[in-house]
Symmetry: C2
Subunit: 297 residues, 2 copies
Amino acid sequence: MPIYGAVEAGGTKWVCALADETGQVLTTEVIATTTPAETIPAAVRFFQRGEAPVAVGVASFGPVDLNRGSATYGYITTTPKPGWANTDTVTPLREALGIPVGFDTDVNGAALGEWRYGAGQGLDTVVYITVGTGIGMGAVVHGRPLHGLTHPEAGHMRIPHDLGRDPFAGSCPFHGDCLEGLASGSAMRKRWGRPAEQVDDAAAWELEAEYLALAVLNLTYTLSPQRVIIGGGVAKRPSLLDLVRARLLDLAGGYPGDLPAMDEYLVTPALGDLSGVTGAVELAREALERTKRAHRP
Amino acid sequence: MPIYGAVEAGGTKWVCALADETGQVLTTEVIATTTPAETIPAAVRFFQRGEAPVAVGVASFGPVDLNRGSATYGYITTTPKPGWANTDTVTPLREALGIPVGFDTDVNGAALGEWRYGAGQGLDTVVYITVGTGIGMGAVVHGRPLHGLTHPEAGHMRIPHDLGRDPFAGSCPFHGDCLEGLASGSAMRKRWGRPAEQVDDAAAWELEAEYLALAVLNLTYTLSPQRVIIGGGVAKRPSLLDLVRARLLDLAGGYPGDLPAMDEYLVTPALGDLSGVTGAVELAREALERTKRAHRP
């Protein structure tokens, strides 16, 4: 049975894994994200050490270049993370391992993992949002990760901001009070002066639920997903999801008339913290199939 | 050469057409949208009169049921239009004509027409917005119209509304000041007391441009389209598009860093008023191909 390699390439750690063709993760190694010169070779060594994978998938922090026709395809592009701007992650893996390498964003990877093996199985259109330090969004539409111009960046969508209720100007360096600027972990820390997990005021979490409900509402009206999966550290807050569901239903105002039950529509990841790395397995499988198709006579 | 039938089923008129397999419209007839009992048989008669089409596509006003597994697939569902709620449009055409019938929303049809033959050719992800009496949105993603839970309803997305600048409460019966409630032709008429085409105040059009730019920004961050096509009566206002492009660039705040030239990114329909009916031709072709696949041994 073929073995697939997978990397969830995050800004603080790279989770490397080997998995079987059912997406089952067999072994993992966590590598600190230091510099490209250290982290990428450490990942290569992981894949050289055990059973040789037939392909590797990388689900990466971004922004990234997903345009296969571009000279910088497979690069992490304009990240503010020191040392990582304009870093080619695909070529070093492909050249060192000599196997096909799949590539997408971490959130598209998580969406793909959940769609294939988790909370999105059997559906056509699935959205994954992560609410942590930042807010990211990925989606699977018609069985493939969503991208076009670049990739979804729905953390930067603009939503109503009632300055009377919430005078905080927002923390996004590009937009101030976009969704991420109002509702990310960074925004909460800046607004309340302490990390989200130390915020206990009920009104603070009602405000957070308001912003997340507006975000899910806009995603619902724009992408019409059959399910929205919400992950990330902030989203793990007990009872937050119920607040979001209640506000979402209220904000929808009965339109469309046939919204599904909220606890089936807005859910946590079935794969827990393995959504991204499992999606990377799927990226590996797709890369292998693409290579096979390209070589078919 | 096969002939395809097409219907752009609007709330005031049905545009019926015959087209060749290159999407070229050969003949059209406009039927007033009165009652289902009158309008649907009139469309059937149009298709029985000339050269017999091999399949028909319907791009319909909505909301509609696009779920092929549903008992009400092909229905116009909860429309407020008198007499048209819960109307089966697909079955009467299929039974009277004995040919495959494709079905989607009018805006997904327009997106599909522009993608196949117009301003979206060769792209993977294309968004079509229409700004008229209401605001509708369709998209083609990975070569297929976007739907999942239902279909996009991005006219109802929530955007920032500065009550100081614009004290109008919004005209949407479901949401008040959603995008459609602030920026549709109906909203303009209600806010300014006259139809949009009679509004000449520069500040009014700057406000309209602000809302449309926020909408296109949110669509950009959510769907990452390679191009956004904007049609409909209100969008025909001279110079409005340039105002929207300028505000969009400003609101994006340099993120992502590689936005294309605005006059290539946000464009008018290349097919003019034929986007929808041309998309319906494509829906007919897809319906025929689906039927052939289903009958393949």
